[in-house]
């Protein structure tokens, strides 16, 4: 009972954590339940994402892990000067993962993975106060990864892998704060890019310092999702030579930044495991979200972002409660990459505290069911985006934001 209490307290411990931008840290139910740690945790196929070098230390010849997470996220906005307010009605995002590892020899293992580390879905009420910045955005990137891991000796292994990314992004916003057609419908544009592909790579290493103590490190490269044939669909445009907004194509680029994670795990009291990861995401690559319309009559959309590189501090704890049950808890603090004055409602993220918990139920020797839960807590924040330009004048859009997210997860693990 004492141990359970300890776990509960740890799970709910109040510190401060975040991994902002549009990074979605939901790459496995077991790891998520432990604060999304895992770069030095060797116990299942989620290693394909967290640290493929550890695959060679898995006990089973074949391991498969798969699962998903319905993401319920909410953003509330209000302006205490004008009384304007809005609350998002975003759809339920569904990040997922599928990993398989295969132990070819005692020194060589292969891993395959499909996962969704970047994404964002935010839907404000149409024509809300910040609709000139965004009405809704839906960004999703699916990573396909193949890695090979080599065991150098019982202490050390490393891996290298190839990543293929398929990305989609759709963004709708009003053209300005006031432009409408004759009937008063706000003029808007939808930019849609689908099937944008690019490639990247990943390397990782694992060091077993002792039987109980491991260190790990993983690096994933920067991938730039670039497109020249996004579609731009203009609606509710007044019939006037002054508003020459015809449907056209557009080019745009979104960086999926490089990321390095280093961490440790420590087993103690036989049934306990503690893990700590420090994850750094190189967000400084995200300088602008510019949309260059092919039609020369249409002015390009220039949107400075100026993100800064940010880190996430992750803590996880695992307790093997019984033959069949394993309990997990965790916490992470996620730093926002967004600087003061660049806080856009399209990605309204300030630093967040993230509380996680979960359990695994062993159905039999081969099959496990993994459940997890994440609650993301943001402090209320007064913030603004100061770089929207209207007739040559910068018009800041600011107010008070309060966000949260609630993510239950379910998965299975199969071992052979």
């Amino acid at each position: 009972m004492k141990k359970i209490l300890f776990l509960a307290v740890f799970t709910l411990a109040s510190a401060v954590m975040y991994a902002g931008g549009f990074r979605v840290n939901l790459q496995g139910n077991k790891s998520l339940a432990m604060g999304h740690t895992g770069v030095a945790v060797v116990n299942n196929a989620e290693l394909v994402f967290h640290n493929p070098a550890g695959l060679v230390f898995l006990e089973n010849r074949l391991s498969i892990a798969a699962g998903g997470f319905p993401v319920f996220s909410n953003v509330a906005y209000q302006n205490t000067t004008t009384g304007e307010s809005a609350e998002t009605d975003s759809g339920v995002g569904t990040p997922f993962y599928i990993y398989a590892s295969y132990q070819a020899t005692d020194w060589l293992a292969f891993g395959l993975g499909v996962y969704t580390p970047y994404g964002s879905e935010v839907t404000y009420p149409d024509d809300w106060a910040g609709s000139h910045l965004v009405n809704n955005i839906d960004l999703a990137a699916i990573y396909f990864q193949a890695s090979a891991a080599i065991k150098v000796n019982k202490f050390f292994s490393f891996s290298a892998g190839f990543i293929f990314v398929n990305g989609n992004v759709s963004l709708n916003r009003n053209l300005s704060r006031t432009l409408t057609d004759l009937e008063g419908n706000r003029s808007e544009v939808t930019v849609d890019a689908s099937g944008v592909n690019d490639t990247g790579w990943t390397v990782s290493a694992l060091f077993n310092v002792t039987d109980n103590f491991r260190l790990g490190a993983t690096y994933r490269s920067l991938i730039r999702l670039e497109t020249d044939d996004a579609t731009a669909d203009f609606e509710n445009i007044p019939n006037s030579p002054a508003t020459p907004f015809e449907d056209t194509t557009a080019s745009a680029e979104v960086p999926l930044p490089a990321e390095i994670t280093v961490g440790l795990s420590y087993e103690f009291y036989d049934k306990w495991l503690f893990a700590f990861d420090l994850q750094t995401t190189y967000w400084s690559e995200f300088e602008n979200l510019d949309i260059d319309f092919a039609d020369p009559l249409i002015p390009d959309s220039v949107n400075p972002r100026n993100y800064e590189t940010a880190s996430t501090y992750r803590f996880g704890l695992q307790y093997e409660a019984s033959e069949r049950f394993t309990l997990r808890g965790g916490y992470y603090y996620d730093e926002s990459p967004i600087q003061a004055g660049f806080f856009s409602p399209e990605t309204p993220r300030n630093d967040s505290n993230n509380y996680t918990a979960g359990l695994t139920f062993d159905v039999n020797d081969r099959l496990q069911i993994d459940a997890s839960f994440l609650y993301v807590q943001f402090d209320e924040v007064d913030a603004s985006f100061d770089f929207f330009e209207e007739n040559g004048v910068l018009v800041p859009f600011g107010g008070t934001y309060k966000s949260n997210a609630f993510v239950p997860g379910l998965g299975v693990t199969y071992k052979l």
Binding site: A76, S240, N391, V393
Partner: protein, 508 residues
């Protein structure tokens, strides 16, 4: 095992409870904004076209939605304000039908001509709003375009039958509760807890926009004898205005009284320059020769005969020079010397031309409509009939200094009455005159630039040059809200006027 399930359930429950993010202090919480000592649960706005949301020379849906009372009612909703109804028209074309026949023009939109030059044009299309198909009133917005102060108390002003006879107002006829209803009585029947009253503008405006072609009724206390372009006597105004305030307060309502802006600072009078006739030296010489005898002999003789003063003679001298000139005009405030000239043997045509002739000067204001007349030919077959040079500009296109003075005197009288009644009754007094003067003089900075009264580009005035844009109405709403907060100690939030549009682009 049971314990684990309980813990899991508890954690999941915690997540659901916190699902909606809540602010520590939400703008929607009672008490975040305060009403002060006023009760906004039932707000009724009384007035004329400005209150109705009229813009671009028409009443149409999107303009009504940004009427200042509607903007205010939205803000009142933070402090207990209730539903606010408006007699919305049926389209965004503007214009009115009476039994299927169009009786009011469509709205203006900003269109670009073939050469790429923007300008106001009347939107094409057939209006669908018919006066005879009544909207069921009364409405919280009792703004009636065209209404003068005393007309708010006139029975029959909302009679559909009276519209054709010119005794009723088509806009009020749409939603008056009966043929004999008055605007004020319909407003009072709503039992307002709060009201705004902005009336009196048309009591001087129609005189002004008609270039002073009406009569200043100063001293005439019987408004039933007034014509539409006349200036209302200030005592008549004070009397009917006082009656209206009393009626609106009869149920214990509080309210705001809005004074009358300086109508001559609106783009309708400040857009067309007084000097608009370009002439070269040779042409100027030819034209001057035609007026030589008039300048040097006729005028001194008239002075000598005591028919006109030397001052008037100086005003009547016509002189063109190389460059951009003042046009000639007919001024009905001048002594009409037509018959005297005829009796002196001058031919009737020339005598008629010279009868009340002078050149426009810097003290005059040109009405917006003069832009379409100046420099055109009065007789297309006669190249000498250039309006402003060979043919005088009609009086209706120029608001002379003498006419401006009458307007100014009347407005001062109206405003003294309004301010006095506000003070006497503990009502909020809204100094719209000062607010508009600031827009006209220096402009008012806002989140997207500076709001000015420049025609088309300034942002405050719609394409008729008289009525505000949505942004102009939003500015007005803020001015009134600030006055209400000051009077009643509330903290009703104002709006960001940058979120409100200006003119509408549309090529027919």
């Amino acid at each position: 095992m049971k314990n684990y399930i309980k813990i899991t359930a508890a954690i999941v429950a915690l997540g659901f409870v916190s699902c909606d993010p809540e602010f520590d202090n939400s703008v929607d919480d009672a008490g975040f904004f305060e009403s002060g000592t006023a009760d906004f649960s039932n707000y009724v706005a009384v007035g004329n076209s400005l209150t109705a949301g009229f813009a671009d020379n028409a009443l149409y849906i999107t303009a009504q939605e940004t009427s200042y009372p509607n903007i205010m009612a939205n803000q009142f909703s933070f402090v207990g304000g209730g539903e606010f109804t408006q007699p919305l028209t049926d389209d965004n074309i503007g214009g009115l039908l009476l039994g299927g026949t169009q009786i009011q023009p469509n709205r203006f939109v900003l269109a670009f001509d073939a050469a790429g030059n923007p300008g106001p044009v009347v939107l094409e299309g057939t209006p669908t709003t018919d006066v005879a198909t009544s909207a069921v009133g009364p409405f919280n917005n009792m703004g009636v375009p065209g209404a003068k102060s005393f007309e708010l108390l006139a029975p029959g002003y909302g009679s559909v039958a009276g519209v054709t006879q010119g005794t009723a107002n088509p806009y009020f006829a749409r939603f008056a509760t009966s043929d004999n209803a008055t605007v004020i009585a319909d407003a009072v029947s709503l039992n307002p807890t709060f009201f705004s009253l902005w009336i009196g503008n048309n009591d001087i405006l129609s005189y002004a926009t008609s270039g002073g072609s009406g009569v200043d009724q100063l001293g005439n206390l019987d408004p039933s004898t007034y014509e539409s372009n006349d200036i209302t006597d200030p005592n008549v105004f004070a009397s009917v205005y006082s009656d209206q305030v009393t009626a609106l307060m009869s149920g214990g309502a509080q309210g705001a009284l809005v004074n009358i802006p300086d109508v001559t600072s609106i783009p309708f009078f400040t857009t067309v320059p007084t000097q608009s006739i370009p002439l070269d030296a040779a042409t100027a010489g030819v034209v001057n020769a035609q007026f030589g005898l008039y300048n040097t002999q006729v005028l001194p003789l008239l002075v000598g005969a005591g028919i006109i003063s030397q001052e008037e003679a100086d005003l009547r001298v016509v002189n063109f020079t190389a460059g951009v000139n003042f046009p000639i005009m007919t001024d009905d405030d001048l002594t009409d010397v037509t018959n005297i000239l005829i009796s002196q043997g001058i031919d009737p045509a020339t005598a008629g031309l010279l009868g009340q002739l002078r050149q426009v000067n810097d003290n005059d204001l040109m009405v917006l409509l003069a832009a379409g007349v100046l420099g055109t030919l009065a007789d297309p077959s006669n190249p000498a009939s250039v309006i402003g040079v060979g043919v005088p500009l009609a009086d209706q296109f120029v608001l002379a200094a003498s006419e401006q003075a009458r307007i100014s005197t009347a407005a001062a009288g109206f405003n003294a009455a309004i301010e006095g009644l506000a003070a006497a009754n503990g009502l909020a007094f809204v100094d719209a005159r000062s607010a508009l003067a600031e827009v006209a003089a220096t402009g008012v900075p806002f989140s997207g630039g500076v709001l000015t009264s420049q025609f088309v580009t300034g942002g405050a005035f719609s394409l008729d040059g008289v009525h505000p844009t949505p942004r102009g109405y939003a500015f007005t709403a803020n001015v009134i809200i600030n006055a209400i907060n000051a009077q009643y100690g509330g903290t009703i939030p104002t709006v960001d006027i940058g979120n409100f549009g200006t003119i509408t682009l549309e090529n027919n």
